[in-house]
Assembly symmetry: C2
């Protein structure tokens, strides 16, 4: 699609939905979700037809105890042909663990904001880049795919706007290294549609061979609008989180990632082909409150798809008879 | 704008924001907001620059006690030139009260769904139409403007989809009567962007002389996307509710109207000219929890505009020094 002129008509165009709730969502939760439940949830997401699932994070179990079972989960999930099973990997040790556990793709993270990179990863950007370059080399040697997620692409909650030249400078350095998957992350919900449309179009034009993912948060209510703005610029891969789980510790008041079932619901109504079975996705989301011990932001889990009809009031017949007798 | 190709670039195009929180919002609330507070809130909304404010409802005080002070509020608000002060009017008695109270415009309501009309208004559609026709005649005699809000245009929570021919049939009957303002209401958040874009474009093409307003709820997370789809079809008037107040008793789980400050925030970032001062609007929204006794859905009231920056972590200097010493 060359312009946004037909963004309102999906016309069966394929949009790839990538689930991040098991990692980006659960890592924020206080409750430890039992390993068997994580595996069952991942299997339900696979069955629902997601294109990619970020299964876990191979970080230090003491840093993120919620995901201390990364190896077991990655090894014991049922793998659906057509779904890519990815995992966050912060360093060489994590990469080795991930590869040993048969992870399809390593997802590496650094921030395009120097301040956010230090606050979140406790490294300078150059230190992060050097560490990630080693991971990329290891993955290439092992013939395992790599994706790089760049945080704060649409703004940093501490620094403010980040120049597009800086963002694209980091993209170029990873592309030069042979990385072919880049996620442009709106880490704290600062992205807005005009910016998204412009940046997504520019990135696709400059690197036509790169597979770009857009990762939005709904912090300021612009999540779906940003997805549509990106689609209008030709993007076709989106991260989203079951139930709308997730958030960012450096942005108080921030809500979670865009909600998988909300995006799948909207795009499906608009005629896009996400390949995802909405009913199965909603059923999976509705299991979350019992697993994590609190309500979820998902509006679709709450209200149901748009044609979820409601009964007439109990006294409806009496109302009608009174009206007709006037 | 003839197509949606430039919807992502506002380019200073004028969008009229119409506030419905004082009526559609407060009528749902259990707490009675003191009359002086309602007046102060309306004055704050006027000062913020909204194009139209639905101030109250001239319904029976026993039916909607939350708005039993309609006359006093309408008479005592400060009127800003450029803002239209409208009020909901269900019948002739209400119209007389509204006109006596110097209401600029009478807003009449009926549903394009027969079931919803009976359940909500306790009349058949023909009974509603006959009653509203009398109100229109009265208003025309008194030289007071009339707007007709049609509920369930994008679907009925009890019936499901409503045929566009039925919707347009009702629009035509009111247009034939001389009505020049029509609000197309997505009463329970069933609208989706493809449908909105198509229907808004068709309505504008068929009745170029009619001032159409679009009224969305965010029940399924599609509120802003629907606003943009309507703008893409040339619409330029939107109802929204301060704080995102409101709802519908016939749609359990439904959230409120689209949130005024979320829409103004997004459209402002996109380069549209809403004429609204966001800071004043957010300040008004932040008064709501104290007035109504509970939190509000507004994500902007919670997270702030996108460039609301946050401090670095307290131990940031130590983090940086440790990083740099490596």
């Amino acid at each position: 699609m060359s312009a946004s002129s037909t963004v309102w008509q999906g016309a069966n165009r394929r949009i790839h939905m990538q689930e991040v709730g098991l990692r980006d969502g659960l890592q924020m939760e206080k409750a430890f979700v039992p390993t068997a439940d994580k595996i069952a949830l991942c299997n339900a997401l696979s069955a629902a037809g997601l294109s990619k699932i970020e299964v876990t994070s191979f970080t230090s179990p003491t840093a993120i105890p919620a995901l201390k079972d990364a190896e077991i989960v990655m090894r014991e999930i049922t793998r659906r042909p057509g779904t890519v099973y990815t995992a966050l990997v912060p360093n060489l040790r994590g990469a080795e663990r991930a590869i040993e556990s048969r992870t399809d793709e390593l997802n590496l993270v650094m921030s395009v904001s120097a301040t956010h990179n230090l606050a979140n990863l406790r490294m300078t950007q150059e230190q992060s880049f050097t560490a990630l370059a080693q991971v990329v080399a290891l993955a290439q040697g092992a013939n395992v795919a790599v994706n790089v997620s760049l945080s704060c692409v649409f703004g940093c909650p501490m620094e403010g706007d980040v120049a597009q030249a800086d963002v694209f400078g980091w993209v170029q350095r990873f592309v030069d290294m042979g990385v072919r998957g880049i996620t442009l992350c709106d880490t704290t919900g600062m992205a807005y549609p005009t910016q998204v449309h412009q940046l997504a179009a520019a990135a696709r034009a400059r690197w036509p061979g790169v597979e770009f993912t857009l990762h939005f948060h709904n912090t300021r209510g612009m999540g779906l609008a940003n997805v549509l703005a990106a689609i209008g610029a030709g993007a076709d891969r989106f991260d989203a989180s079951l139930g709308g789980l997730g958030g960012c510790p450096y942005a108080p008041g921030a809500s979670g990632n865009v909600c998988s079932e909300e995006i799948v619901h909207a795009l499906g109504l608009m005629g896009y082909d996400t390949g995802v079975d909405l009913a199965q996705l909603v059923a999976a989301a509705q299991q979350l409150p019992a697993l994590i011990g609190h309500d979820i932001p998902s509006q679709i889990a709450k209200a149901g798809p748009r044609l979820t009809l409601h009964p007439v009031p109990a006294d409806f017949d009496a109302i009608r008879e009174r009206a007709l007798s006037r």
